[in-house]
Assembly symmetry: C2
Homo-oligomer: 516 residues x 2
Amino acid sequence: MNGAGSLVSTLVDRGVEVCFANPGTSEMHFLSALENPRMRSVLCLFEGVCTGAADGWYRMRDTPASTLLHLGPGLANGLANIHNAKRASSGMVNIVGEHSASHLRYDPPLTSDIEGLARPLSHWVRRAESAATIGWDTATAVAKARELPGQIATLILPGDTAWMDAGEAILPPAVAPTRKTPDAARIEAIAKVLRSGEPALIILANKATRGRALELAGRIAAGTGCRLGSQFFTARIERGAGRVPIERIPYAVAQGSAFLAPFRHLVTLQTKEPVAFFSYPDKPSLLKPSGTQVHALAEMEEDAEAALEMLADALGLRRTAPRLQERIETPRPTGALNPLSIAHALAAATPENAIVVDESLTTGRETMGYTMGARPHDLINNLGGSIGYGTPVATGAALACPDRRTICMVGDGSAMYTIQSLWTQAREGLPVTTVIFANNQYAILKAEYANMGAGTTPGPQAMAMIDIDRPTIDWVAMAKSMGVPGVQVDTAEGFHDALVRSAQEPGPSLIEVKLY
Amino acid sequence: MNGAGSLVSTLVDRGVEVCFANPGTSEMHFLSALENPRMRSVLCLFEGVCTGAADGWYRMRDTPASTLLHLGPGLANGLANIHNAKRASSGMVNIVGEHSASHLRYDPPLTSDIEGLARPLSHWVRRAESAATIGWDTATAVAKARELPGQIATLILPGDTAWMDAGEAILPPAVAPTRKTPDAARIEAIAKVLRSGEPALIILANKATRGRALELAGRIAAGTGCRLGSQFFTARIERGAGRVPIERIPYAVAQGSAFLAPFRHLVTLQTKEPVAFFSYPDKPSLLKPSGTQVHALAEMEEDAEAALEMLADALGLRRTAPRLQERIETPRPTGALNPLSIAHALAAATPENAIVVDESLTTGRETMGYTMGARPHDLINNLGGSIGYGTPVATGAALACPDRRTICMVGDGSAMYTIQSLWTQAREGLPVTTVIFANNQYAILKAEYANMGAGTTPGPQAMAMIDIDRPTIDWVAMAKSMGVPGVQVDTAEGFHDALVRSAQEPGPSLIEVKLY
């Protein structure tokens, strides 16, 4: 077995089941090694799709996928979605092809400082030095990616390391990732805060917004009267009818601050206190009122479920019934498209157990609050703020959960970044409904222009950098070009019916929601 | 005037006329400053288009364009084409938006190590520390980008630096870029080599493949019997009927080595000796025969034209007539599409003074040799090897030269990387003909699989990472989705006629050349 074979074999031995790949000449031995029947390889036509798909996979499986990227520039193309994954604490293993050391000294065209490019957005970077040790390197990379919270591990694979004989691989022992338990004194201090009756908000994030952790938070809220919140963006929330509801802290600084104004205490799980997304000339960075105290119930690397368990125990609320979101039956809406009718269409048409990937920005910000009573679903958001995350993450999530419908809600500006995702969705027959909210502009920027104090309204040149209406993008033609059936809708009933139909078909489809 | 205003005003004062932008919230003051009537701002829907377009602009104008990118991830999306530009010695000024320092301490979502991301592929990186000094920083960035060879300058613009009052800008003196003249002893040594009659190849690159430098090289070749060559990839070559012809060193290691085998001397201008693009298990990195000497006539930072002038003088060949490429009249081809009929169609249909941007890889490698006798044109190639350079570079070249037809020849795999270019071409009404060579595969990898010794033919999994035929990409629909008229052709005459028609229309168009 050569080094590439040892690498792929170690990946699968350590539980990495999928590789999102965009290979080049230097990765031919890796391609050959992908014949390993335990590895699923998925071709993406741009590296940003590979890394975003790996993020989506982790969000649903809690276990890392791998990517195959072609030298420094291939890695560079994937970095924006690595940034987003890192912010979401999604683990992934990036394999980056590289020239052999003997060739690098001649500075051939594709040479770049791969470590330099990888380090700013990776937790762990290593250059595999020999075929004999690459198994060890790979196992280390996977262990790093599986740590809690998930880590970005980047392994650089020189050509000669891939093609030389690896011999018998020596691997470090496989260790299950562990999460630290918070210390009891901290739990007791927070219990005291919640017992005091002073207004408190528990902010849930990362793995605390699902399953047993979410349920425990609901018991604590029911028993103490505290409220449950999330950041505006969360890695994955189990949401909808029958789940413990979480209030979303608004995005805009004024509204976010107003939301937090009543609280004297913020209790955080696997997140930090709320911060404005951007800096503005006359707005604060921190959203909480001055004097409000922040208490970390579980840090990122700690066990949120155990922390909530301990807190519920300390408060004697383990058996208190949580308040659960009731199902709000929404009739099929009709008439004009607006945030409310869009929300009603979503609430009525989203099938049970759907995965909703939200990158709808302007439209979604006004809409998503109205879908709390939809059938139970998972909601995925972008924590990194780099647009172009939605369609790749939906691709990876659908591969991870082929029996569920993934609905990717994405603004037109964002969708254009990594639209190549549609092709992989068609190739793999993935059950993804891509909903393009086509308002023909980077609408978020129109509001932000005034928020920033750059002027009351943009002038013609500035507006030309915000409007994307000349030419109008034809999303149905775009989908068709990559083998995805598409439809354009301009009414609420049209949107609703298209959503229902899409969920009944097995493969991908696209709905252009015409908002202009 | 605020910092952003000072920045834009300094850019135009120092000769930067265009900004390829994809802005975000943190760049609103910059957008406002773009109202400056001396700056042309061009919206791109992905940052890789911005940086590639800046490269194309530089190739045609020899002066840098600017880009506007949204924080670290926006820069990351542009890095692959920055890599390509850097390898082509194209100067550019990247402006990267950033949070204010006061906000950065809270690590908001879009925070990343921008300097860390910029440094591996920039020659110069600076964080603007205040509105008062940003004029100075900007002038320094432009001076750096204008150096010879062109440099990548990256200026990081924190929000508060953009919006604070700049006062009166203090700028460093404007200095025209200079190129060093090679020393006379070196010229004399090379003259002696050429006088010896031993077989010699002059390898021209960068600015030596055009105008007076190319003509001088032709005189020297005619007078001494030496041959003129170029690397397989060159930033821009003035080529076709009436120009001094240059032989292209083949890409593949065996053919490249065979081409160089007769030569005892390689004389380089603004390039290094030929190196294999990739490392292979049993192929050499260097293409020249052992014992062949390499003589640098002009280093990258030296004046190639002056060096050739001095060499022609030393050889007494200033007035020797160079051999010029004759026009080869090619009849309109008919019948099946193959490398020869494609070449004939190109040779017959390429209009005078066209700009040909070549990213056609597999198809072009067999084709371009046959177009030497076409009407005079400029040929642009990718020196960095990261695919997705073609359509953005064509966009920038066409903006730089709106009175010429730009023909972008691109493989389907490469085109998918940065296909968003088509939208900017439609928006700006650019005279670009995009020719997609649709063979439904990363065809280059099929050959490289065996070259690499990964096996004689790829297995089914490996092949699934090379074929892009499921689904077939519909390029006409793709073009339509972004407002570009398109046509599919599957005969030589169809291709020829579509090319001719496209050059008669004012705006962009796309031709899908169906090779499967």
